[in-house]
Symmetry: C2
Subunit: 388 residues, 2 copies
């Protein structure tokens, strides 16, 4: 039996080795300037290797080097240069496009928001996004060359082999289009595409209040319901890029037929679409998901009752999700997450009822700490984590 | 905003740095002997650093160093020594204890098996395991000092903070005992404890037929039902060591009261215990889980019918699990996994029915490739991956 290729090993190539060594120097320099001799001592790399890497970093404008003295001897002091680099996140929703720009140090520099009509096409939305992208860069005083990449969030599972949206209900007009080439042409920058719930999880982990947490789940409750999973600080993407698809988990309490063809799926009870359908059946005048919290906060009993049912159903699915993943934290995002008593509380109680001991006693449930911005910030994080 | 502590960074301590550098040398030497100068060139480490690490390895008996010439100059040639090191895996079941020993190269050297009475106590089983451990070492010609560690698999979730078995139904006599000190004293070696399903997943990934697969789920169907999850080659352990607990996922098709207090849990329909209970109600004379495949293979219609129900129920849970994790492969383990037509086929069909597109079309379902040995081999892998 030969040794399995399990633990990912750094390829032995010179370029991979150099990247690894460069990353080690950057980590040390992130804490402050150091001499080349200090860098050599704290990494075990030879002085010649350190000198070569520093020379490359200086050439690339990533570092500066100046002569100094250390313990009475001449030395080269190395400092990281303040960077003009930013990453841009684009969050495309069923009825909006939102852009944010942030630095590698997780500083938010600016944001833009444009409402879109339901049924917007990929082509039209792309044009709007590019216009807003230019306006955003102008606002924050950056050129296109300063953008290290553009992360784009799409509501729906994405086949990472073909970069296409798979399932049609949320953005049917977008299904099957190979998005990456068009996006890279439009922005003239490297682009990465992610599912909205996955990006929500990344956004919470990189820009949220819970950055000490390395195992978290972000549950996006919108027209669809999906989960983003961060394990050990990284996104759990699944073998083909599809993961966290809890929207069609079957509920014991429902047998409503779902768009997927099964019965009793979570989305038939707990998506904002199903809530709006139910409120209309109950004679309420509602048109967008923002109407749901508005009604509930005005004391509408039907809205409060439906939200509680939805919370309980999502809690059941969250309990199973937590049993499987054992996270520290479940973050709830989307337009209903602001409703603590009406939605988050029944969700949490039901999650605890459906989870095993230890999980039940330890997992926390909280609304998203970055609200509407979370997923766009996650799209930024998709670029930053790639570059790190 | 400061940079989040997300990507696990190697701690800056000298010992962590040294371990990392030592591992880099071992990786290169695994492909064959090299001179110290070659090691320095291919790692970027200074000749002094390389020389220090090699000296440590020679002192520890892990490498030999001999004078040679390279390009006409004197040089030190370094070779890894053939190792006598083994890891031992102990799989404790409700009615057995099994031991295996294997090398870091995944070579199985020997195994032992002892049936145990139901209701065996931790103390009694530990005594049996130690006796068998000594016999195993003698059989394979190794001393206790050659054992780099003993991995121990327990059926049931384990709180990795206290090293205690959490839930009582499978091994009630073991609940709440801090197992680690007793085990380390008994074997006089470092011990790691794992949940049986987690170890099954590790066993498949390290010793099974699917070692090229880096995302797999192992579903253990026994007296309880649990899943072990390997993502990117590593065990998904959860924040506290509990994960893959699918046994209490609620099924739409059942409302039988479960030992956990909820209704319709997977285990009420599909555990070997529930199958045995149902077969007894149907007047069949069964006592152990081995009787189930025996009955089914003899054409007993009740057994075949119950197995199909169980397969479908586990398939439903597997579909949700696959939607969440997006694995390449689901491996089914336990005494029923040998029943292709009666059990695996309905399980697979139901998994596909309950999974989203792309998952449905790509995930494979297979019986365990190492049979009864899988979990003990996983206990070995727990030690080996720790040491690597």
């Amino acid at each position: 039996m030969t040794r399995p290729p399990l633990t990912p090993r750094a390829p032995g190539s010179q370029s991979a080795l150099r990247a690894r060594n460069r990353q080690r120097l950057r980590e040390i320099l992130a804490d402050g300037p150091a001499t080349q001799a200090q860098l050599s001592r704290s990494t075990g790399l030879s002085p010649a290797t350190v000198s070569n890497i520093v020379a490359e970093m200086v050439d690339a404008g990533a570092a500066t080097r100046e002569a100094t003295t250390s313990s009475g001897r001449r030395a080269w002091q190395v400092s990281l240069t303040a960077s003009r680099e930013v990453a841009v996140g684009v969050d495309i929703g069923r009825r909006h496009v939102r852009l944010v720009a942030a630095t590698a140090a997780r500083q938010l520099l600016g944001e833009r928001f444009v409402p879109l009509p339901v049924g917007h096409t990929a082509q039209r939305t792309l044009a709007v996004a590019v216009e807003e992208y230019r306006a955003l860069l102008e606002e924050i005083g950056r050129r296109n060359e300063d953008v290290i990449g553009v992360g784009v969030g799409i509501p729906g599972p994405i086949d990472q082999r073909s970069h296409t949206v798979i399932e049609g209900a949320i953005l049917p007009e977008w299904v099957g289009i190979d998005l990456l080439p068009g996006l890279e042409r439009a922005f003239n920058r490297p682009v990465r595409i992610g599912n909205d719930a996955n990006l929500g999880a990344l956004g919470e982990a990189h820009f949220g209040d819970h950055r000490e947490v390395s195992n978290l789940v972000y549950i996006k409750v919108g027209t669809g319901i999906g989960a983003g999973i961060v394990v050990g600080g990284s996104l759990l993407a699944g073998a083909l890029g599809v993961s966290g698809e809890i929207g069609h988990m079957g509920l014991q309490s429902s047998d409503v037929v779902c768009r997927c063809g099964n019965r009793g799926c979570l989305e038939t009870v707990a998506s904002t679409k199903s809530l709006l359908d139910n409120l209309r059946l109950a004679g309420r005048d509602v048109s967008t998901s923002e109407d749901i919290p508005r009604l509930a906060q005005s004391g509408d009993l039907a809205a409060i009752r439906f939200l509680e049912d939805a919370g309980r159903a999502i809690g059941e699915a969250s309990g199973h999700l937590a049993n499987i993943l054992g996270p520290e934290l479940i973050v709830v995002g989307g337009p209903l997450a602001c409703l603590e008593a009406e939605f988050i509380a029944p969700l949490e109680a039901s999650m605890r009822r459906h989870s095993v001991p230890l999980i039940r006693e330890t997992v926390r449930v909280l609304p998203s700490s970055r609200g509407d911005l979370t997923e766009a910030l996650g799209a930024v994080a998709l670029i930053l984590t790639d570059a790190e």
